[in-house]
Symmetry: C2
Subunit: 339 residues, 2 copies
């Protein structure tokens, strides 16, 4: 097996070779010369996995829950890929020794593949690499792919557009925060897991979430609709199925309690999406988003490649000195290179 | 005063008219026809404010601290603009009634302007609008501009590139999280505020932060360097001044304790940046980043404007059905419209 060619890597990856998968991911992350041909070769082989996003604030124990969830799938003989883009996750190396020990049981299992990805230092670029790595795991035949992110701000929307099923993890005692964060969280949650359910206050948290769900009808499709990135015709929000009410589950990730029920809720949601047409809709939205992001970066790189670096530097300097605003500078640049 | 024209709005804004400022911000946020000419007119008038980023996890009390910090500046007769892009902030309407009451004292003060901005549902676009709103506040003559964000993941890097001084807020009891989050936080913090310093464990948190600071030399400039967005010549990291060690301060935001000291630390950092040349460097980095983001969006919009929507839809459909990968689709699209 030749792991230095696109053909060799692709067929080895499809045959379940983990080393080939790791290499493909490295090519994607480092954007090597093989990255594009690999993505083109793998893309048609993807689209079978169910992609699950798990998000929540630091301290909710979501990494441990991801661990247990992966274990639950393994007991049903399903293979699981885990992508941790959470800087506080033990999977991504951010957390304490105790957490790392806790995830060791997964690490030895060939039916599980764990990859951590950085999120920092990039303006949108990393998000695209994440999508590509998900796609590679999908093409490699993993039945379920779990993406773990910290659920604050922008990343929660990104996970919602990458995942078919989004699990939002809360914990009792973070009561005020639950209220505070709800605005963004309600719109993306397909399932709520109230973790650390052996702690005091769990019923209050469950109640608060259920109340919120009753107050605001699930607006997920509407949000996704607003978030669409290309002028593509989509079903009107009011015509979309609204038959799914996010269940609120109690879990105790440390003991594994509730992990089976969580898995079952995810599988129910998967079936719901398939039967309601929601999966097709999400595929279209994701395709539109991906096209936009890739197109944008492609056009930028193309223009920069044919721009004189010295000229660029003069423009940056002028903007930094407030002699010209960046919008006017951009128009100048585009006009000039168009000549 | 005619608040419907660029000239009228610009001169009213400069004269301190708050209604003009609010209108300008609306034009920016809604990207109206006046937005571009307004930005072009205001840009040369900006560049005087000191921009302060305040970031930290939910539950650290950073909104209350921002409130107190604004109060400290007001007592020195400086005007303050606050931009809350934190979904958990009372400034942005995300939090509980108690928090909103607590910030009422600021709301009545004409020397303070508070604006909240959403971060959701956008891929980078909102970040640009934030920069533009900062610029408008700057041109309106505010002495200090405070941007409040949740410090997890991507947003912390964005705040570091928008702000001259970044304050990272921690709290005792979130001990494990401090450790976990440090990777990203150390690199962007100019000042640490350990809030809720009347609580148990504050000294442990302070110690932990100081230890981390000793372990890793401040790498801020290096990170910024890696993060540069256009191929612009910048001083080599090793040639940059490294004379600033982030101080670790204790604050109790609810009582206001430590707010004065925090303000003084910020002012010290401001002087340090001016004397070391760090401010000029950050202006260049920011200009390069802004140019890149605006250029990217400009090129995308331009291409989409001359693309047949029907053709676009066919491509999205093909990508969604995995018949073609998005990279190949993008190349097809660009090639076609270039004819």
């Amino acid at each position: 097996m030749d792991l230095t060619t696109v053909e060799g890597l692709t067929s080895a990856l499809e045959a379940g070779n983990r080393r080939a998968l790791a290499r493909v991911i490295s090519h994607i992350e480092n954007n090597t010369e093989l990255a594009m041909p690999l993505l083109a070769a793998l893309y048609p082989k993807s689209g079978r996995a169910h992609i699950i996003g798990v998000t929540g604030a630091p301290g909710t124990g979501k990494s441990t829950l991801v661990n247990q969830l992966a274990g639950a799938y393994r007991r049903r003989d399903m293979t699981v890929g885990v992508i941790a883009i959470d800087p506080t996750s033990p999977f991504s190396g951010g957390a304490l020794l105790g957490d790392r020990v806790r995830m060791r049981d997964l690490a030895g299992d060939p039916g599980v593949f764990i990859r951590s990805m950085a999120t920092r230092g990039s303006l949108g670029g990393l998000a695209q690499a994440t999508d590509d790595v998900i796609m590679a795991l999908d093409a490699a035949g993993f039945d379920r792919i779990i993406i773990e992110t910290v659920g604050v701000g922008q990343s929660e929307v990104e996970i919602a557009s990458a995942a078919y099923t989004t699990v939002v993890v809360e914990a009792p005692g973070l009561g005020d925060e639950v209220q505070a964060i709800k605005a963004g969280i309600l719109e993306i949650a397909d399932i709520f897991a109230v973790n650390k359910a052996d702690r005091e206050g769990v019923d209050r948290t469950v109640m608060a979430l259920k109340m919120m769900l009753n107050l605001g009808a699930p607006e997920k499709f509407q949000v996704m609709h607003h978030g669409r990135m290309l002028p593509v015709n989509l079903p009107e929000p009011e015509k979309l199925p609204r038959g799914w009410t996010p269940p609120v589950l109690k879990t105790v990730a440390i003991s594994g309690e509730g992990a089976e029920a969580l898995m079952e809720a995810i599988e129910n949601h998967r079936l719901y999406l398939e039967q309601s047409g929601g999966r097709i809709l999400r595929d279209r939205l994701r395709a539109a988003t991906e096209l936009r992001v890739i197109l944008r970066d492609y056009l930028l790189e193309e223009l920069l490649a044919r721009t004189d670096p010295g000229e660029l530097e003069i423009l940056v300097e002028a903007v930094a000195r407030r002699e010209v605003d960046p919008y006017t500078a951009v128009r100048q640049l585009v006009h000039k290179t168009a000549d």
